[in-house]
Symmetry: C2
Subunit: 435 residues, 2 copies
């Protein structure tokens, strides 16, 4: 009998991270890291897990969106789905009525991405491989067939993509051996949350260097005098040889960003992340021209490949920060990795939150093996939060992500955590409400 | 006792327009025009009505989003809300947790816009004025205070906006008399839906000219040979003196758009609307350079003022098409009208759907009185669908919108229609499901 998708469960799971101001930044002083969590089940008892990362309030909206789109999966033959997740991605993103609510952005696009990622998790589990290895095993033709090029061809054609993938074939075996032996570089945001005091900042900076990180990141944008003081503490704590990125989380307009970064430039910041609205391609280009040689980075809120295409076309970014859960899933991230490679811009994935590290490591490792072929100036963000809730958590050694070896996309949350943090009725929330 | 918001009702209302292919275009062959419909009620028994236009499936997602955001209105003092809807707009758009789901785009942004518009409807009803007249009666300082300039100042500062508004004061009395006497120019999309046959197309084109329209619009992008034939029929039916716009509804990439428009250029199209992804600022600029003197228009899917800013900065559009329900409500549309005026680009609002004509006419008429000061090359889209469901429907005479005179934003749907078309349990849907 044909194996089919029999159910799609969608859960609202929230972690009360705001109680200790973990994750606090200029635009979001009190985040509760959360997820619309997805479990696909098949008639043969197989599972695919996915999630859409959220920040607390509004997770119920994302859950509603995933539930609406999930109807398109019920009853689908699993062999077809896992052989061509791109066909599903096109159906989910292109639904002629639902696309008014995007198109290709925001709540509905993230819902599509969550479901597409869950199908890739199912595909990798069936193949008995971690996702990075499944993707790296596809031919250039198979990979290109997974991408929707409709709006990309003025910057990247199918032929361009094939040539990039073919030229990355050389040396792949050696790169895989190095990846398995040494891991992939990480950077840490753990020291720099805006809500931490100076002593905690200095201590965490020193610990990061001791732990082997070569790049750390500080949140900025609350108050200029505070930022100057904190940046001086951080530089003093890590010394001149460690890169310090700063992240404004969109707090500024273009003129503010330029003014503020001139003040911080004395401390040799490596990149300024999200200096302004993630939609402002031309604004990022203007900031980049003004603050060079400080690099400009963005991406965690960049809603689709069309926006990344323009950031690259306009010379607006030095660093592309893909996010596993913002765009339409693995398929659209393949397009973004290829666009970045076409323009010669390094990809340093956004992570943190809930499960973002677990998911996105697969994409960065695939990029190293099959697209860019290098880890030079590339780092996956690492934040030491909430990994204990995952069945296959990331493993960090000496400032590097070790390659996951379990089948799938590492998205599965342990059942006890799902039960404890389910919103609003899990005991962690019900108890807080009663207190 | 202080009057407060006592309840916010949100209804899922859908009209089965796909049964006759009204509204059919290249990306959306079978739309069911729908709305997440909003009713604010106050402790004194006053009401404010608003809506978020949708296209059928997925309306339940928009309803969920409006319900989540509506919590921020319950209990708010009405005097404060109507005195400063901009403060509410900032709270709704800027919520530090929910903004991850946008930011400022898609489902959550449209939900914020629907609620903000409902507050403006309430404000105008209390003032006993149609919204266009309420807005035109505000001082330049009051209008500027309603706008969030955070991401706009590289193109439009508070001072720029004040100067634009002050310079438009001259002649306003005369313009209001002309508006009340003659109305505001309309164009019609009624003839050109892609699902209509050639005879219906020709007949509706001739009827549009007889009815006084000077601009009509055809949907294109399904099949080039069909488009050439239909464009020839339309040009033959209306003669050389009537403008014919064409609308591709985002079906093309940049190279396709240029190739296709070269073929259609023989029939003197006035503008090409949505030639490609609404997110592709640089793509629109490339299309515009290639197809001139045919104009480029977009806006109904342009998700916020930051995107409009860039379309103008990049010289990507000849026509700005604001939409009453896409962005964060009246306040963000004020910013977009001022940006368009600053760059000297005419605004031709998108309308049609459910209630879009009713709502957006107020913004165009305000623009004429208080911002651009002209109706030259400006038209509000008009589609003859679903107006019978509105308490204060638009009135068209000789191809022009007559200025509404009833207090409010004309957003109220008659109760019998709400009951009949409520989804899925209204009799119009329950009967269809049973059949």
């Amino acid at each position: 009998m044909t194996e089919r998708i029999s159910s799609v469960d969608v859960l609202d799971v929230r972690f009360p991270t705001s109680r200790h101001r973990d994750g606090s930044d200029a635009m979001n002083p009190f985040p509760d890291y959360s997820a619309a969590y997805i479990v696909l089940r098949t008639t043969a008892g197989a599972e695919g897990h996915g999630l859409v990362f959220t920040v607390g309030r509004g997770t119920e909206i994302e859950v509603a969106a995933v539930r609406s789109l999930a109807a398109m999966l019920i009853g689908q033959p699993v062999d077809d789905l896992v052989a061509d997740p791109g066909a599903l991605a096109r159906r989910l993103v292109g639904d002629s009525q639902i696309r008014w609510l995007g198109p290709e952005k925001g709540v509905v696009h993230m819902a599509a991405g969550g479901l597409v990622n869950a199908v890739w998790d199912l595909a990798a589990r069936r193949a008995g491989r971690p996702l990075w290895k499944l993707l790296a095993g596809l031919t250039p033709e198979e990979l290109v067939a997974q991408i929707d090029f409709r709006y990309l061809r003025d910057a990247l054609t199918e032929q361009d993509a094939l040539e990039l993938l073919r030229s990355a074939a050389a040396g792949r075996g050696e790169r895989e051996r190095r990846l398995l032996g040494e891991g992939y570089p990480a950077y840490t945001t753990t020291p720099g949350w805006l809500g931490y005091d100076d002593d905690k900042l200095a201590r965490l900076c020193r610990e990061a260097v001791t732990a082997g990180y070569e790049l750390i990141k500080l949140k900025v944008g609350g108050n200029l005098a505070d930022d100057v003081r904190r940046m001086a503490i951080a530089r003093d704590s890590v010394g001149p040889g460690i890169r310090i990125a700063v992240d404004a989380n969109q707090i500024w307009g273009v003129p503010d960003a330029i003014r503020w970064m001139r003040e911080l430039s004395h401390f040799d910041p490596y990149w300024i992340e999200e200096p302004t609205s993630p939609d402002d391609v031309l604004g990022h280009a203007a900031v980049r021209r003004a603050v060079a040689p400080v690099k400009v980075a963005t991406g965690e809120h960049v809603h689709n490949a069309v926006m990344f295409k323009q950031l690259l076309q306009a010379g607006a970014v030095d660093v592309v920060q893909i996010d596993a859960c913002r765009v339409g899933g693995v398929n659209e991230n393949l397009a973004i990795l290829l666009l970045a490679a076409r323009f010669g811009v390094p990809v340093c994935p956004h992570a943190g939150g809930v499960g973002l590290c677990e998911l996105v490591q697969h994409l960065a490792m695939f990029d190293y093996l099959a697209v860019s072929g290098t880890t030079d100036d590339r780092y996956i963000e690492y934040v030491d939060h909430l990994h204990e809730h995952f069945v296959d958590p990331v493993r960090i050694r000496r400032g590097r992500y070790l390659a996951p070896t379990a089948p799938g996309m590492s998205a599965q949350i342990v059942p006890a955590s799902l039960a404890a943090f389910r919103f609003p009725d899990g005991p962690e929330w019900a108890t807080a409400a009663a207190a």
